[in-house]
C-alpha cells in the first residue's frame, strides 16, 4: 500500500475518487426529476454551457480578469504587508503606533468595508482592487511580522561576531530567517485574494470576471453557467495554489523536508 502510494499517478487517481462520487451523486439528483431537480442541472448541459462559453471566448476573458485582479491585489497587498510587517518587527515604535489600529481594522470582515468604500471611491473596479489588496494585506503583514520577530537571537549574535552592518543583518539574517513565514503569509494572502476577487465581483458586478458571470447567470437563471463558473473557479484556484506551493518549496529548499 505504501509503495503504491509513493507513485504520483496513484495518488492523483485517489484524489479524484471523491470528486467523481460527487458528480455521480449530482447526476442522479438531476435525473431523478421532481421539484428539487431544478437545482441540479444535468452534467451534459453543464458541459454544453462550458463549450458555449469557451467558444464565445468569454470564459477566458473572465478567467483572465479574475486572475489579474487577484494577482494585482496580492502584489499590492502582499508588498505593503511584507514591508510594513518587517518594518514593525524591526522598529518597535512603529509597532506601538500602528498595532492597535491594525488589530481593530482586522476585526471587521472585508466585505463589511464595501459600503464605506462604495461611498469613498464608488462601486467600480477600483473598489474591487482595494478589497482584494486588503484581503492579501493582513495575512502577509501578520506573518511577516512574526517571521522577523521570531528570528533567533543566536543567529543575530553570529552576525555581531562578524561585524555585520545593519543592511547585512537584514539581508543575510532577518529576511532569510523570516522567509518561511513570509511565504506562509503570501500563500494565505493568495487564497484570501482569490476569494475576495470572486466575492467582490459577485457583489459589485463590474469589470468582468468569473464572479460577474456567476451573478449575471443567476439573474438569467442559467444554472449551467453558474456551475461552469464555479468549476472553473475551483480548478483555477487549485492550480495557482499548487504553483505557489512549488515556488515556496523551491525558495525554502534549505529547510529539512518535513517528511
Amino acid at each position: 500500500m505504501k509503495a503504491l502510494l509513493a507513485r504520483g499517478w496513484v495518488r492523483a487517481v485517489i484524489g479524484l475518487v471523491a470528486p467523481a462520487l460527487f458528480l455521480i451523486w449530482w447526476q442522479v439528483q438531476a435525473l431523478s426529476g421532481g421539484a428539487h431537480a431544478l437545482a441540479f442541472a444535468p452534467l451534459e448541459s453543464v458541459g454544453a454551457a462550458f463549450v458555449e462559453l469557451a467558444v464565445q471566448g468569454s470564459l477566458f476573458s473572465d478567467m483572465a480578469a479574475t486572475l489579474s485582479r487577484s494577482l494585482s491585489g496580492l502584489a499590492i497587498g502582499g508588498a505593503l504587508g511584507i514591508a510594513l510587517g518587517v518594518a514593525m518587527a524591526i522598529w518597535r515604535p512603529l509597532d506601538r503606533l500602528l498595532n492597535p489600529l491594525l488589530q481593530a481594522i482586522r476585526q471587521v470582515p472585508l466585505m463589511g468595508w464595501l459600503p464605506l468604500l462604495g461611498l469613498w471611491v464608488g462601486t467600480g473596479q477600483g473598489t474591487e482592487l482595494i478589497v482584494v489588496s486588503l484581503s492579501a494585506f493582513f495575512p502577509t503583514l501578520l506573518n511577516s511580522y512574526e517571521g522577523v520577530a521570531g528570528v533567533e537571537r543566536r543567529f543575530l549574535e553570529v552576525g555581531q561576531v562578524y561585524g555585520f552592518t545593519p543592511w547585512q543583518r537584514f539581508r543575510l539574517i532577518l529576511l532569510p530567517g523570516a522567509m518561511p513565514l513570509i511565504l506562509t503569509g503570501l500563500t494565505q494572502g493568495l487564497a484570501f485574494a482569490w476569494i475576495a476577487s470572486i466575492a467582490s465581483e459577485i457583489l459589485l458586478g463590474v469589470g468582468g470576471g468569473l464572479g460577474v458571470t456567476m451573478q449575471l447567470a443567476q439573474m438569467q437563471q442559467r444554472l449551467d453557467i453558474i456551475l461552469v463558473a464555479i468549476l472553473v473557479t475551483a480548478a483555477l484556484g487549485f492550480t495557482i495554489n499548487q504553483l505557489f506551493l512549488r515556488l515556496r518549496q523551491h525558495l525554502l529548499r534549505w529547510q529539512a523536508p518535513l517528511r
Binding site: R154, F155, E157, V158, Q160, V161, Y162, G163, F164, T165, Q168, L172, I173, P176, G177, M179, R253, W254, Q255, A256
Partner: protein, 280 residues
C-alpha cells in the same frame, strides 16, 4: 597517524601576531528576579600569544558567560579584559568564537556560511572563494560545499563552524564547548583536528569544556573554575609537548583535576602551579 594528518598544509600558516589576553578583577552579575546574582567574581587570567588554555568547571560556574564577555557580545561587566593591550568593549574580527551549537545559518550552503565571515574583512573578493575552499579542506569537508546545514551530521556542522571561525584568522579564538554535542568517536577525531589546526596556525585559543580529558589533551594550561559565584579555583600547567597522544601520561593529571572538581567548596587557594611532567 598524527604526523600524517599534520603533513597536510594549513591555510594561514604562519603564527598569528599578537593574541595576548589579559583579564583583571573581572566581575559580572545578572539581575534575576529583581535580585543581583554574581556569576563571575575576581577573575584574573593572563594568556600568552599562541597559547592553548582550557577551562573546566561544573555547570553554573560562568564559563560561557566569560567567553561571551571576551568575545564582546556582552559589555556589561566590571574589571578589565584586554587583547594585546586594547580594552574589549564590543565584537571584533580579532576575536572569533565557536559556539556550543554550530549556529550555521540554515538558509545558506556550507560554503556560503563560511564565506559570510569574510564579508567585512579586507580579503579581496577574488581570493575569498579560494580561502573558503582551503578551510573546508582543513576540516575535511571537501565535497560538501553546496550542502545545507540540515544535510550535515552534527560533527560535520560543528567542523564547519570551526572553519567559519578560523577563516578570518582571529588572534584569539574562543571555543565554547564546541564538541559537547558530539558522540565520543567524532569528538576524538575533531579534537585531533583541532590540535593539528592550532599547531599550524598558532593563534591563541581559549576553550571551555566539561571534559577533563579533552581539556588536558589540548591545553597548555587548564583553568579549573568553581561555581556560585564563578571563580578560578586553580590553574594547572600541562607541561607536555604537542602533538600529544592520549596515553597514560595524562591520567594522573586527569585524576587530580577530577578530584578538584568534586572536592568540597573552600578548598586550596587559587593559582597553584602544578608541574605536569612525570618521570617515565
Amino acid at each position: 597517524m598524527i604526523h600524517e594528518v599534520l603533513a597536510r598544509p594549513v591555510p594561514g600558516g604562519a603564527a598569528a601576531a599578537g593574541g595576548a589576553l589579559a583579564i583583571r578583577d573581572l566581575h559580572k552579575s545578572f539581575t534575576i528576579g529583581g535580585a543581583p546574582r554574581t556569576v563571575l567574581e575576581g577573575i584574573n587570567l593572563d594568556i600568552r600569544p599562541g597559547e592553548f588554555v582550557s577551562i573546566v568547571g561544573a555547570s553554573g560556574c560562568g564559563k560561557s558567560t566569560l567567553l561571551r564577555l571576551i568575545v564582546g557580545l556582552d559589555d556589561d561587566y566590571r574589571g578589565e579584559i584586554r587583547l594585546d593591550g586594547e580594552r574589549v568593549s564590543t565584537t571584533s574580527l580579532d576575536r572569533g568564537i565557536v559556539f556550543q551549537d554550530h549556529r550555521l545559518f540554515p538558509w545558506m550552503t556550507l560554503a556560503q556560511n563560511i564565506e559570510l565571515a569574510l564579508r567585512n574583512t579586507d580579503v579581496p573578493a577574488a581570493r575569498r572563494a579560494q580561502i573558503v575552499a582551503e578551510h573546508i579542506a582543513l576540516v575535511n569537508l571537501t565535497g560538501f560545499e553546496q550542502a545545507y546545514p540540515h544535510q550535515l551530521s552534527g560533527g560535520m556542522a560543528q567542523r564547519a563552524a570551526i572553519a567559519r571561525a578560523l577563516v578570518t584568522e582571529p588572534k584569539l579564538l574562543l571555543l565554547d564547548e564546541p564538541l559537547g554535542a558530539l558522540d565520543a568517536l567524532t569528538r576524538v577525531r575533531v579534537q585531533t583536528e583541532l590540535q593539528r589546526i592550532w599547531m599550524a596556525q598558532r593563534s591563541t585559543m581559549l576553550m571551555v569544556t566539561h571534559d577533563v580529558e579533552e581539556a588536558l589533551y589540548l591545553g597548555d594550561r587548564v583553568v579549573v573554575m568553581a561555581p556560585e559565584p564563578g571563580r578560578i579555583r586553580r590553574i594547572v600547567e600541562v607541561d607536555l609537548p604537542h602533538p600529544r597522544d592520549r596515553a597514560a601520561l595524562l591520567h594522573r593529571l586527569k585524576d587530580e583535576i577530577l578530584a578538584e572538581l568534586t572536592a568540597a567548596p573552600g578548598g586550596p587557594s587559587n593559582l597553584v602551579h602544578l608541574p605536569g611532567r612525570e618521570a617515565r
